[in-house]
Amino acid sequence: MSKSPSRTALRAGIATAAVASLAACGTSDSGSGSEAAASLGAAEGTVSILAWPGYVEDGSNDPEVDWVSAFEESTGCMVTSKTYGTSDEAYQLMQSGGYDVVAASGDLTLRLIAGDLVQPVNTDLLENYDGIFDFLKDKEWNSVDGVSYGVPHGYGANLLMYNTDEVTPAPTSWDVVFDKASDYSGKVTAYDSPIYIADAAMYLMTHNPDLGIENPYALDQDQFDAAVELLKTQRDSVGEYWSDYLKEIQAFETGDSVVGTTWQVIQNSITSGNTEVVLPDEGATGWSDTWMVASDSEAPNCAYAWLDYIASPEANAQATAYFGEAPSSQEACDFRDDCEAYHAGDAEYAEQIWYWTTPVSDCVDGRTDVECVDYSEWTKAWQEIKG
């Protein structure tokens, strides 16, 4: 039976619509490399900010928590903000455009720079940049070839949390979640992200020096395979992986988890159960966040104004205290009473932290004779580890 003309027309119509809509979601070329601003002009009136939850609070979540209003009053730049849940989500949002400023962790910054989505930042234009801890400036996650791409915001370490009733003696090594994990089978927890592979690699730096790992984010195939193998063994003892920090708080309070990675803010939030955190001898992975300016920003002056404002001691203290991390300057500690808990300004403590960095095929430890495993492979391996 032949098709009726109207049905054929309908199909053609749907096909046309389909092709049109598919073409619309095609790719776009990124622009040429952008330059840092040389001087600042008048404020544009608005600034759009993309940040982690709790970084840009204007009192609408909690009337007591507000550092945006003061910025709007003093600069005349009205803030609109959007939050994201993972670095990968932020990357997608930055690709779609429309944001002037982004707060990015170290596992996002290099991707943004490589994708030409952010521009270099002229730190001379920022009054409060001088006060920032030196050990946070010009690092591999916020600068490229000596060119700064942003302003440090706050940092923290992925610590080892343990239940003091169940885990004795008090651990000083990550071996309780790796080689000795079977002692706590079913009660071990780990961070649910491909970037956690770096924790295993960092452990191997100390416990299997023959592999020659210099930086847990620069792994060649052999080193990577060893880390993945370690995590596959660990999986047998893992009760659950966490990425939602509220879930981990609950798991430690009920005793469903007794040992695993954590953040300082989680320890501060736990109200019942005997838990303790420690920075083990091998060191720890961690995050250091950076405020960056979008390469296609239509409000660069307001963007710089925000970068300067959020680096100012009082605003930085408010924002980092609310999130639960160390501030970026010593002066900020004058506005906080919990700096000690976060080891703010303790360069030695900060040295032990391997900050999240995007693994790319050009090894970030400077090796040129091998190719490193890039992040897409890390993601694939992470799914295999979970099985």
Partner: protein
């Protein structure tokens, strides 16, 4: 005025009326639903730029081949399928007696209360219910407290937790069609069966079951397909368990690899199509 002139214009033009009435839903179904699905299927044959993570329109079958050949996807597919089948069977086992009681034994007043009781959980957010199960399954939870006197332990977070939680979540969707199915079975058939000397069990197997079979299959479609695509429950009570939905989520979110995510999503789509084709042969789709 204009309203009147529009209706005067339309009154004699039946076909235009029909076109006006049907265009919005057809557009919705066509553009929003079919095109979105088509875009998803097509994306499975594209690739991403390694450095920037942007989707590139370069035709390749790599993603589909990877999904079909790698052991990871086979393991996760089998696990997902097993969970979905278990959830469906559990739900039917619980739903049939409940629906029978509601339709045939309970008095009208009781029946209304039961219908409300079955539907009430649907008023609460999905997340609230799953987190409630997280608390129940915890090692300090109600289940541990209830079974520990018998020397047992809570199943904890894992596949058992996922099956229990999903069975709970989809139970109303299974009870309601089966209840409607029982409701359509005339009482006089049961009486006739008894008059002819059949015992309760024989009546159930020989008279009732053939009549409510389509309703049971209809209910199973809900439980099966909803379980097949779930990933949030797994994330909350699944411990280390991964289902197909989790792999799709990880590839959209963490990996930023939309084409691979699209390729993985072809698996549940294929399973559901096979299932619906099988169901269609039984004629149960008409009783949905």
């Amino acid at each position: 005025m204009t309203t009147r002139s529009v209706s005067a214009f339309l009154a004699p033009r039946r076909r235009l009326q029909l076109a006006g009435l049907l265009t919005p839903p057809v557009l919705w179904l066509g553009l929003v639903y079919v095109v979105a699905l088509a875009a998803l299927l097509v994306t499975a044959f594209w690739t991403v730029d390694e450095l920037t993570g942007q989707v590139q329109i370069e035709w390749t079958t790599d993603n589909v081949v990877e999904v079909l050949t790698e052991a990871l996807y086979r393991t996760v597919t089998l696990r997902t399928l097993g969970i979905a089948v278990l959830v469906t069977v559990l739900d039917i086992i619980v739903a049939v007696p409940v629906a029978f009681f509601m339709a045939k034994i309970a008095r009208p007043r009781m029946r209304h209360l039961l219908v409300i009781a079955v539907l009430a959980p649907l008023w609460a957010s999905y997340l609230v219910k799953v987190y409630a199960w997280r608390a129940l399954l915890s090692s300090e939870g109600l289940i541990e407290w209830a079974v520990s006197p018998f020397g047992l332990d809570t199943p904890g977070y894992g596949i058992v937790g996922v099956v229990l939680t999903l069975s709970y979540l989809w139970l109303p969707y299974v009870i309601m069609p089966i209840y409607a199915g029982f409701d359509r079975v005339p009482d006089r058939l049961l009486e006739a069966s008894a008059d002819l000397g059949a015992k309760g069990w024989t009546t159930l197997i020989a008279v009732v079951m053939p009549m409510i079979r389509p309703a049971i299959i209809a209910g199973s479609i809900f439980a099966f397909s909803l379980s097949l695509g779930d990933y949030i429950t797994t994330g909350i009570v699944g411990g280390t368990t991964q289902m197909l939905g989790n792999l799709v989520y990880a590839n959209v979110g963490a990996a930023n690899n939309l084409p691979l995510a699209a390729a993985i999503s072809l698996i549940p789509i294929g399973i559901i199509l096979l299932y619906l084709a099988a169901v269609r042969r039984t004629g149960a789709l008409r009783s949905l």
